[in-house]
Amino acid sequence: MSTLEIIFYALSAFAIVSAIMVLVSKNPIHSVLWLILVFFAISGHYVLLNAQFLAIVNIIVYAGAIMVLFLFVIMLMNVKVDNEPQKKMIVKFIGALSGGSLLLLLVALVKQTTQLEGKQVLMKEGAIGLIHPLGQALFTDYVLPFEISSVLFLSAMVGAVIIGKK
């Protein structure tokens, strides 16, 4: 095994274990903290793919900003293990069933896709995740979707301000 492969498998194991811990943890605060670790592991994968910009933006936006807001809300609502309402057995059963079928569907889809056959992930190569090529692509080839999504963000901000004023 090369060093790259060892790092890849270690990061993947780290990501999967943390993701399972997000679900298993009884305390919502612990779940959020495990989720932050998942984002770190995914950022590690981005670095392996030579996408440093995406890696750091993933940390800044998800681990740094969004998760802080999650923590904020959970801390303010003071969600505790003992006063959390327990779901009924039937609801749990339906949840497991629908989640399981979604997983089955996704696995079947990935297995059937011909575009993925015999393909290997490029490690340490490709430059689309670096800031200069990504900026070029966003502001030339994809400028319309980029601008439209910025309008979406603006409308979300205006909405937040209006809700805040009430």
């Binding site: 060093t3 932050i36 750091i56 681990a63 740094g64 801390m75 800031i131």
Partner: protein, 347 residues
């Protein structure tokens, strides 16, 4: 075994460098606490710590020993692991910034060409920004894990303050990036050495915004709302004792050193000594002079931080939020537009 096909010399070089930078930062932080007390004493017209050693120079060691020897208390109602994790995280996050700061040009030692920077990543500034946004977790986790409502309130204050001021800081940085065109801190310093002026000349408003937000991110007075002792007892570290408390207090000083280093690097030429021709002395000597120059710039910034702390009273909470959202962010946006317009006009 292909795993051994690494450049071990490189790894050892980097490990030595990390050790030097981390221990140097800790040492400087230790004496920054002493400097803080001396500066406060001078500004308040009293002698300050003077008993331990000549001029009281051994005082920080005595303080550190006192913190370590004190009894370690973990409250019964606290969530134990997170209670321990909090101060560790605060310390780690504040030390992580030093990885991308270029401390000097490069020295040749034992036939190796050693860059005086731990990692010259092409996203240096964004890395700093990510680490800054991680710093708030140490405070939030510690405040929540203490299971004390004053700690929690103070942690929430700290988090909202950090988030509010991060925005203005990011916008100030974007304006700087527009002029430099690079995210690598090393490249930014090289540009300032080769160009005629330091970046402060091109970005005075950006620097002012960055300085204010840096002060807020370090939770220094007048932005020390999270520690407002007369409304929140002591702040997010109220339940902490012994060296865990020491870690929180120490992390603040390390944050101060790191933000001074970042400001010196980005706006004040980094390790560039003005009116001095580096080619006139041996390269190694020139590199060491550069390191010394950067350290002097850092010390000057730290003194500025202290001067402000002991001169200006604390903001009220609504004033703090008003300054962040209604003054600094519009100013930073204006600065960004202005920079963009100037760059367009020069094209």
């Amino acid at each position: 075994m292909t795993i051994l096909a690494l450049d071990w010399g490189f790894i050892i070089e980097k490990l030595i460098m990390i050790a030097i930078v981390v221990f140097a930062s800790l040492g400087i932080a230790l004496y920054t606490t002493f400097g803080e007390r001396k500066v406060a004493a001078i500004l308040q017209d009293r002698p300050g710590p003077s008993r331990a050693g000549p001029f009281g120079l051994l005082q920080p060691l005595a303080d550190g020993l006192k913190l370590i020897m004190k009894e370690e208390i973990i409250p019964n109602a606290a969530s134990k692991w997170l209670f321990i994790l909090g101060p560790g995280l605060a310390m780690t996050a504040s030390l992580m910034t030093c990885a991308v700061i270029p401390w000097g040009s490069a020295i040749d030692i034992f036939g190796r060409h050693v860059e005086l920077q731990i990692a010259d990543v092409n996203i240096g500034i964004l890395y700093v920004f990510a680490v800054v946004s991680m710093g708030v977790y140490g405070i939030m986790i510690g405040g929540w894990a203490s299971n004390n409502k004053f700690s929690l309130m103070s942690a929430l204050r700290a988090a909202s303050q950090a988030i509010s001021y991060e925005l203005a800081m990011g916008l100030a940085l974007i304006a700087l990036l527009m002029t430099t065109g690079s995210l690598s801190l090393k490249t930014i310093v090289e540009q300032q050495i080769q160009g005629h002026w330091w970046n402060i000349v091109y970005q005075p408003l950006g620097f002012l915004i960055f300085f204010i937000t840096a002060m807020a991110e370090c939770n220094r007075t007048p932005f020390d709302l999270p520690e407002a002792e007369n409304e929140l007892n002591f702040g997010y570290h109220q339940e902490y004792s012994s060296m865990k408390l020491g870690f929180y207090l120490f992390a603040e000083y390390i944050n101060m050193i790191m933000s001074s280093a970042i400001m010196a690097t980005m706006y004040f030429g980094g390790y560039d000594l003005p009116f001095f021709n580096e080619a006139s002395v041996a390269p190694n000597i020139a590199a060491l002079i550069g390191v010394g120059t950067l350290l002097i710039k850092i010390v000057l910034f730290i003194f500025l931080f202290m001067w402000i702390r002991w001169t200006i009273p604390r903001f009220r909470y609504d004033q703090l939020m008003g300054l962040g959202w209604k003054t600094l962010i519009p100013l930073a946006l204006f600065n960004m537009l202005l920079t963009g317009a100037v760059i367009l006009a020069k094209l």
